[in-house]
Amino acid sequence: MWSTYPNDQVLPAKFWGCSGMRHDVVVIGAGLAGLTAGIRLAQEGLDVAMFATGHGALPLAPAVVDVLGYAPDRVESPRVALPSFVAQHPEHPYACLSMGVLAASLDWFKELVTPLGYTGSLERNLLLPTALGGLRPTLLAPETMAAGDLGGGGEVLIVGIASYRDFYPKLVAQNLTASAPADGRRIVARAVEVALAGDPRDLRPQLLSRRLEEPAVRSDLARSIRAELGSEAAVGIPAVLGLERSHEVWTDLQRWLERPVFEIPTIPPSLPGQRLQSLLTQLFRSFGGRLQIGNTVLGGQGANGVLESVTVAQASREISVSAGHFLLATGGVGTGGIVVDRKGIPREAVLGLPVTLAGSPSEVNPEYFGPQPVDRIGLAVDERLRPLGDDLGHLFSNLHAAGATLAGAEPWKEKSGHGISLATGFAAAAAILEERG
């Protein structure tokens, strides 16, 4: 056994830990924008690596794709409303896109996630119930939610599950009944709360959704609902109908109740969001994409207008990863893509890029539900979605940005969040593909 070693042939100190890893494209961020672009690029055979500090907002989000819901009045048809909306908001991310690209991204998405059965079109917004019983405009909804479109009114039964703390059917039903979906249309909603045999008083959605994947449990649920059913044309239920087997759970309930069943999304976590995330990450991997969650990108190195590499944190080291193109899809203020310091000064978190629409720190709207200037902060980009410097030229010829990190939108007020992420992710991928020739 050795105890000491000669010290003459030690490897150079920097030999290790500076990986020669190189990819066609590095995507930073694993939310809807990053995954959309990543899948598009991987589908075209590119070697795509995706790094993200953690999961994006997908597992929290209701999984509907909003495009434009309010402008500021409720939008019936996004196709009709978008041209004037964009004209009035030239700084909005949609202003970088053509209607054709937006429509193409929606069609591509619907086909990509076929197992989740998304429906909807730019012609008309759906009006889906919220967990408070409001009617919320959105464009695409998965099959498990689509029957909740109450734009034409109707009679529905709203079912709560006693062990689930994030859904209150009575309030949903009363607010729905008071809603006016369209001229002359009415909603009549009734509430009922059912209990699943053997459940404790509190079941987290993760457990509850898996419980419902057991056929015996969901048939028990269906029996309880059937006992309460009247003449209602459809049944609304909190969005906890399974994770991996949601299609089975939903189909069974519809069959047993002999009428459409729709999920109503509620506060995080979101099972529909997790289904979408899980499908998108599987697809990304299946096309050969590399997904690394947990790796924060700390910064980048570039020269002559080209971003050459980014620095990625691992458990005990930092490595440098180079690529031909980079996509920044780290989200906005809410998800950490843009950070604001104590003095109120915002900056882009990974590369320190300049942000736009950042008013003075004192611009806080004292009205909580009023427009908050901070929501519109983000990156300004050119028509190829490349971030702009203060001189309005692009910063790096091979750096693109997509999703909530872009400036100019108020996604929660407009109801445009996933639509922006999907369309700009799709467009950024198209720009990269075009640049690669």
Binding site: G134, R165, A178, T335, P361, S362, N365, W412
Partner: protein, 520 residues
């Protein structure tokens, strides 16, 4: 329609700690008391302080008589209000920016005021509080503690109510009824229903603190109280578990109090004219965050959860002097007999003072009121424990977590940040039926944690609707009103993590629930 009328021995105006203390003391002496406040109880200065139960150490050099009062009241409250108190202990430390000579004067002052003080080594202080500035030169242990103001006030009120007291929150005094030479009661207006009501009282105590000038004016009397604005910032978690004070003359941002799940840094002292308009400014906030660095390096990088300001009722005993620096005003209290001062009988004002001495303030006021009412009963608040404090066990920070561990999963958590379960909520609803969401916050701490109502406001409003407390519109309104109210304390500290939190919360309310477009 005839007005509702209440006949009472003692009308107490102001439902802060002083008023609640007066009600409790009076009820123990066998008086029938009516306590009124224009809002919910403990929403004025009492609900807006940092939660420090003074050892008296803060005042030993500057205001020795106040220090002595604090020292003895601290001992009494530990006996009678244990459930409201966490026995954190306190440290006075000399930081590099403090005058090193002050420490010896401090020790001398503690001796004179009978405050137990023990000097410990810097190493021992750091072992006890690892985040304390390692560059401190001296450290002293004193019996500071933290005290839950809302819990204390509600305990006083519960005790008083059990002895027949009538408590009327959200009842504003519209006018005082008077004969030629005395106050005989008041007209009240229920702020929620708009109904008027008349109280006939044998004696009236003005315990409106920073607002007592306005109440006194209703009787044509003058009270020279000066509201002193102090801002406080609650940090998201406890950076210290001991109250830490800079060992120096009282100044801005020189104390951090671990209270419940947060640590509160305070405070400033600025004379203001109107106690209802005391919004913190960005400059004050920035100074406070920086000031924390002297005690706890890295303090300013922590997550600020909420900022607010309170108005101290400062009562300069030398009348007629213009108050420019409110720090120079004594923290002792005064009982004003308006019969002697203004020729208005059966009317007293109790003002000045501080939370730590609220029991003594009540006693002094009641001793005078008792003379006017020919009552011989003595004060017993120094020995009779408040409800829930009978066991004399101090509050422990881990209590809710421990309880939750035993209750889950059979009692769903409604507020996950502050560990309030549906059972806790329903128990509160059983005690009182007219809760506003914001009252429930003070009673249960709902919405006081990191997410500031982002997740729980929806659950609470909908639960109140489900259980029949609210109709649809009330539930919709309550939800919006609650988050609007929370926003007041967050908007000025919207940076870093807390800003991110506000974005997530807004996404929930606007993006998911679409609260803005609920049917009217």
């Amino acid at each position: 329609m005839a007005l509702s009328q209440i006949e009472t021995d003692l009308l107490v105006i102001g439902g802060g700690s002083t008023g609640a203390g007066v009600a409790w003391d009076a009820a123990l002496r066998g008086l029938h008391v009516t306590l009124v406040d224009r809002g919910d109880l403990a929403t004025g200065t009492t609900g807006r302080f940092h939660g420090l139960l003074h050892s008296g150490g803060r005042y030993v050099v500057k205001d020795p008589s106040s220090a002595r009062e604090c020292a003895s009241e601290n001992l009494i409250l530990r006996r009678v209000a244990a459930d409201c108190i966490e026995d954190t202990g306190g440290l006075f430390v000399t930081t590099p920016v403090d005058d090193p000579a002050y420490a010896d004067r401090f020790v001398e002052g503690c001796g004179a005021a009978d405050i137990p003080v023990e000097e410990i080594t810097v190493g021992a202080a750091l072992a006890r509080e690892p985040r304390l500035n390692p560059r401190i030169s001296r450290a002293f242990v004193v019996p500071d503690a933290s005290i839950d103001a809302w819990k204390t006030v509600w305990a006083c009120v519960r005790g008083a109510t059990a002895r027949g007291a009538k408590v009327l929150p959200y009842h504003q005094v519209m006018s005082l009824t008077m004969t030629a030479d005395a106050v005989t009661g008041a007209y009240l207006r229920d702020a929620r229903s708009g109904e008027q009501l008349r109280v006939r009282a044998r004696c009236t105590v003005n315990a409106a603190g920073a607002w007592s000038r306005r109440v006194a004016e209703l009787a044509g009397c003058e009270v020279g109280v000066v509201p002193g604005k102090g801002i406080m910032i609650a940090m998201n978690h406890r950076v210290v578990n001991t109250v830490v004070n800079r060992c120096t003359m009282p100044g801005d941002g020189d104390i951090i109090v671990p209270i419940r799940t947060v640590s509160v840094i305070g405070t400033t002292d600025i004379p203001v004219s109107d106690p209802d308009h005391i919004d913190p400014t960005r400059e004050e906030i920035a100074e406070m965050m920086e000031a924390g660095e002297a005690l706890v390096p890295g303090f300013s990088q922590g997550r600020a959860l909420r900022v607010w300001a309170g108005a101290r009722p400062l009562f300069p005993k030398t009348t007629g002097k213009q108050v420019s620096d409110t720090r120079e005003v004594t923290r002792s209290h005064s009982v004003l007999d308006h019969e002697a001062l203004d020729g208005v009988g059966n009317f007293l004002t109790i003002t000045g003072g501080k939370f730590t001495t609220f029991r003594l303030m009540a006693k002094d006021a009641l001793d005078l009121a008792a003379r006017k009412l020919d009552l011989s009963a003595e004060c017993t608040t120094a020995t009779v424990p408040l409800p829930d404090s009978e066991s004399k066990r101090f509050y422990w920070i881990g209590a809710r977590q421990e309880e939750m561990e035993h209750e889950a999963p059979d009692d769903p958590l409604i507020c996950e940040c502050e560990l309030v379960s549906r059972g806790d909520l329903q128990a509160a609803l059983a005690r009182r039926s007219d809760w506003q969401l914001d009252d429930l916050r003070r009673a249960l701490r709902i919405g006081m944690g990191p997410c500031q109502g982002g997740f729980c406001a929806f659950r609470v409003a909908a639960t109140l609707h489900r259980d029949g407390q609210y109709d649809r519109l009330a539930a919709n309104h309550a939800l919006g009103a609650f988050v609007e109210e929370r926003w007041k304390g967050v908007k000025l500290i919207s940076w870093g993590d807390q800003l991110r939190q506000t974005r997530l919360d807004q996404w929930i309310f606007q993006g998911i629930l679409d609260v803005e477009h609920l049917p009217k």
